[in-house]
Amino acid sequence: MNKNVNDWLNDHGDYLYRFALARLRDPHQAEDAVQETMLAAIKSNSFEGDSSARTWLTGILKHKIIDLQRKHIREQPLSDLIDLDASDTSMDDFFDKSGHWLDKPQTLDMPENVLEQKQFLSILSSCMDKLPAKLAAIFMMRDVHEVDNENICKELDITATNAWVMLYRARMGLRKCLEINWIAG
């Protein structure tokens, strides 16, 4: 077993690291996730020779990534949570009292291959960095890691309403940021 786990790190460590980095967007957290996965692999006896080690390790890693995201979200200051309860008011920032857009979403001049463009992805990436950490984490969980809402609620111990409010605010913020920076760029 001893040899196996060190070998696994050599054979699959970089793959697992990329998998984690793609979902956590933080090199240190991604390293932690790989380490936690390896340590969990030592303890676990559930590896069956008929699934590949990589598939098995990736399964463990997925849970470790969610653990880290949950920790990250829970570490946010309490004031943020209180702010979340008052979310109805902050959602009004985008609309007037009768529910009309204060600033209508603009047509973004997007070429067909916009997703191939480094500039577009780098603007989006910097917009994600600007989101409040808690919103960024739940957005990553949902839209990047593709955890469904029901499991997000379970993992974070929040209500379905809280989850959708947070996702809504994250998406509203991202879209606005993208609009401002894409047009300016």
């Binding site: 970089d14 980095l21 340590l39 009768s98 577009f120 989006l124």
Partner: protein, 86 residues
């Protein structure tokens, strides 16, 4: 049941549609709203674009073999593995 959504309501339903299938009534109301509202139609397209784009970014990171654990990180993790096993 009101057929007309405000833009605020429409934007909320659009966000929800990225997470769960909409109810029949929400689907109809949204379709109707998008038919008459350019701003929300753009909003809808842009939210979908953002979702596609972040998925693309994920795949690019996953497939970029130049991204590797640093030698230091590997050493640290190997050490953690060894200390757990002795």
């Amino acid at each position: 049941m009101k057929l007309m959504l405000t833009c605020k309501q429409a934007s909320q339903i659009i966000s929800q549609s990225l997470d769960n299938p909409l109810s029949r009534s929400d689907r109809i109301k949204l379709k109707f709203h998008l038919f008459i509202c350019n701003a929300c139609t753009r909003f809808n397209q842009q939210l979908h674009l953002i979702k596609t784009a972040v998925q693309r970014m994920k795949l690019e990171t996953e497939n970029d073999t130049t991204i590797q654990l640093t030698v230091e990180a590997k050493a640290r993790i190997n050490q953690a593995i060894d200390s757990k096993q002795h």
